[in-house]
Amino acid sequence: MLPLILRRVVEAVITILLLSMLVFSMLLAAPGDPAVSLLGRAAARPENQELLERMRREMGLDQPVYIQYTRWIARVLQGDLGNSNRNGQAVVGLIASRLPATLQLLAFSTILSLLIAVPLAVMAAQRRGSWLDRLLVLASVAGVAIPGFWLGLLLILLFSVNLGWLPPSGYTPFFADPLDNLQRSVMPVITLSVYLVATFTRFLRADLIEVLRQDYVRTARAKGLAERMVVWRHAMKNALPSLWTIVGIEVGTLLGGVIIVEQVFGWSGIGWLAVQAVNNRDYPLVLGVVLVIAAGFALITLVTDLGYTWLNPELRHQ
C-alpha cells in the first residue's frame, strides 16, 4: 500500500507544480508592468525612467523567465505570495483572514448534505420503483440543474424580503457573534447543499440498488438479519468507498460553486475576495487566491484517493 500512497503524493506534488507554472505564466501574460503599477502615476515622468529601470532590476524582471519562476516559487514555498496592489497588505494574510468563512460554508454544507442524502438514498433504494423513489429521482434531476445563485436569490426573496426571518447578506465571524454567524450561514449553506444532496442521493441510490442485489445480501437476509442491519451494516460497507469518492469530487467542485454563492450572500470568504480582486485589478491577490484554491483542490483529490485506498480492502491489503 505504501508505494501506492507515495505515487499518489508525488502525482499531487507534480499537479501543484504544473498549476503553479500555469499561474505564473498568467502573471507574465497579465497586462501592465509591475514596476509601473508600483510607482503609479510618477512612472510616466521622464526623470523617473532610471528609477523604473532600477526597480525592474531589483524585482528581477530583467532575468530570464525560468529564473523569475524559480525565485517566485521559492518565495511562495516560504509563504510569501506578494502584496496586494490595492493596499499593500500581504496576500497571505488577506487570504488567511478570509479562509475560515469559506471553510465554514464547505464543512457545514457537506455535513448537512450527507445527513440528508444518505437516509434518502437508502429509502429510495429499498423501495425501488415506488412513488417515493420516483419523486426522489425527479427531485435529484432538478436539484442538479438548478443554478445555485438563482436558488440563493429565491431564498433571499422568500426568507428575507417576504418573511423577514433572515438577514439577506453579510458575514460575521463565528467567534465575534456565534448566533449571528449561524443565522447568516443558513441560506448559503442551503443553497450549496441542494446540489450536493441531489448528487449524493443519485449516486448512492444507484450504488445501493446494485449492492442490494448481491448474493451476500441475500445470505444476510436468509439468516434472518433485520433489514436495518442488512442495509446499514452489510450493504453500506460496500457502498462506502464510492460514496467517499463522490463526496471528494463534489467537495472539489464545491470550491468553484462557493465563489458564486459567496457573491450572492456577500459572505466575505476567499471566493468573494477573488472577485473583489479581479474587479480591483489586484493581480497578486487574484493569483494568490487561485493558487490557494487550486492547491486545496489538489489536496482534496489526494485525500479522496488515499481514503478510497484505505476504505477498499482489496487495495488496502495490496
Binding site: T15, L18, L19, L22, V23, M26, A29, A30, P31, V141, A142, V144, A145, I146, P147, F149, W150, L153, L154, I156, L157, V161, P168, G252, T253, L255, G256, G257, I259, I260, Q263, V264, A274, V275, A277, V278, N279, Y283, V286, L287, V290, I293, A294, F297, A298, T301
Partner: protein, 289 residues
C-alpha cells in the same frame, strides 16, 4: 397521378412523424419542445417578441406582468420578455461556440493520444490533467482576470475548460475502438493511418462525444451565467440571463418578478439539456441499454 402519389407520400411522412412522436414519453416531448423554443430564440428571436431588448421607457420602470409586458419591465422600462429572449440567445451562442471549439480541439488531441500512445499520449494527457485539476469557475476567473471580460474571451475560457474533458473521453473511446477487428482489417488492407483515424475510428467514437457535448452545453450555460452574474462575463447594457439576475438582485424588494423569468429560463434550459443528454445516452450508448 403524380400529385396523388406525392400527396400519399406526404401523408405517410406525416403519419410516420406522428407515430414516432407518439412513441416518445411526455418528458421527452417537453424537452424537445423546449429545444425547439431555444432554436427559435437563436435563429429568429424577432418572431418571439416584437419589442427590441434595448428600447427604454422611463415611465414604465419596474412594472409587474401585464398584457403589454407579459413578464413586466426592468429598471429602464425595457421589456423583460424581450431581454430574456435576446439575452438567452447570447448565452446559448456563447455556450454552443465554446463547446464546439472545445470539441474541435479536444477530439483530435484525444484521438492522437489514444491512437499513437507512448510519449504522444503522456505529453498530451499530462498537460490536459493539469487543466482538469482546476475547478472550472476558478480557471475562468483566472483567464478573465488576465485577458479581461468580453464575449470572445468568455468563449475561449469556457472552451479551454472543456478541451481536456473531450480529449480524455475521446482517448478512452479510441483505445477501445482501436483493437476492434475492422480496424485491424483496415490496417491489413494498407489504409494509411490518417484514413483509418478519419474514416474508421472517428465515426465509431461519435456517440459518446454527442452525449458529452449535450451535457457540456448545460454546464457551459451555467458557467457563462455565473461569470456574467459576478460581473466577469457579458457587461451591461447587453443582456444575458446572468446579467439580468445580477440586476434583479438589486431590485428584489421593488420588483420581485424580475428575478423569476431569467432564472426559470436558465433552469429549464440546463434541465432539458441534462435530460436530453440522458435520453441520448439511453439511445446511443449500447452499454447503457
Amino acid at each position: 397521378m403524380s400529385t396523388t402519389l406525392s400527396t400519399l407520400g406526404a401523408m405517410k411522412g406525416y403519419q410516420y412523424v406522428r407515430r414516432r412522436l407518439r412513441s416518445l414519453s411526455l418528458s421527452t416531448l417537453l424537452v424537445l419542445g423546449w429545444m425547439l423554443l431555444l432554436t427559435l430564440m437563436i435563429v429568429v428571436p424577432q418572431l418571439l417578441t416584437q419589442a427590441p431588448p434595448d428600447r427604454m421607457a422611463p415611465t414604465e420602470r419596474l412594472q409587474g406582468p401585464s398584457m403589454t409586458h407579459l413578464l413586466g419591465t426592468d429598471e429602464f422600462g425595457r421589456s423583460i420578455v424581450s431581454r430574456v429572449i435576446y439575452g438567452g440567445r447570447t448565452s446559448l451562442l456563447i455556450a454552443l461556440s465554446a463547446v464546439l471549439l472545445a470539441a474541435l480541439l479536444g477530439v483530435p488531441l484525444g484521438t492522437l493520444a489514444g491512437y499513437y500512445g507512448g510519449w504522444v499520449d503522456t505529453l498530451i494527457m499530462r498537460s490536459q490533467d493539469a487543466l482538469l485539476a482546476f475547478p472550472a469557475i476558478l480557471f475562468a476567473i483566472l483567464l478573465i482576470a488576465t485577458f479581461g471580460p468580453s464575449p470572445v474571451n468568455l468563449v475561449l475560457t469556457i472552451a479551454i475548460v472543456y478541451i481536456p474533458r473531450f480529449a480524455r473521453l475521446q482517448r478512452g473511446s479510441v483505445l477501445m475502438v482501436k483493437s476492434r477487428q475492422y480496424v485491424e482489417a483496415a490496417h491489413a488492407c494498407g489504409v494509411p493511418a490518417r484514413g483509418i483515424l478519419w474514416r474508421t475510428i472517428l465515426p465509431n467514437t461519435l456517440s459518446p462525444l454527442i452525449i458529452q457535448a449535450t451535457l457540456s452545453i448545460a454546464v457551459a450555460i451555467l458557467i457563462e451565467a455565473g461569470l456574467s452574474y459576478m460581473g466577469l462575463g457579458i457587461q451591461p447594457p447587453d443582456a444575458t440571463w446572468g446579467v439580468m439576475l445580477k440586476t434583479a438582485q438589486t431590485y428584489l424588494r421593488l420588483a420581485p418578478h424580475y428575478v423569476l423569468a431569467p432564472g426559470i429560463f436558465l433552469f429549464l434550459t440546463v434541465l432539458s439539456m441534462n435530460l436530453l443528454g440522458d435520453w441520448l445516452r439511453d439511445r446511443l450508448d449500447p452499454r447503457a441499454r
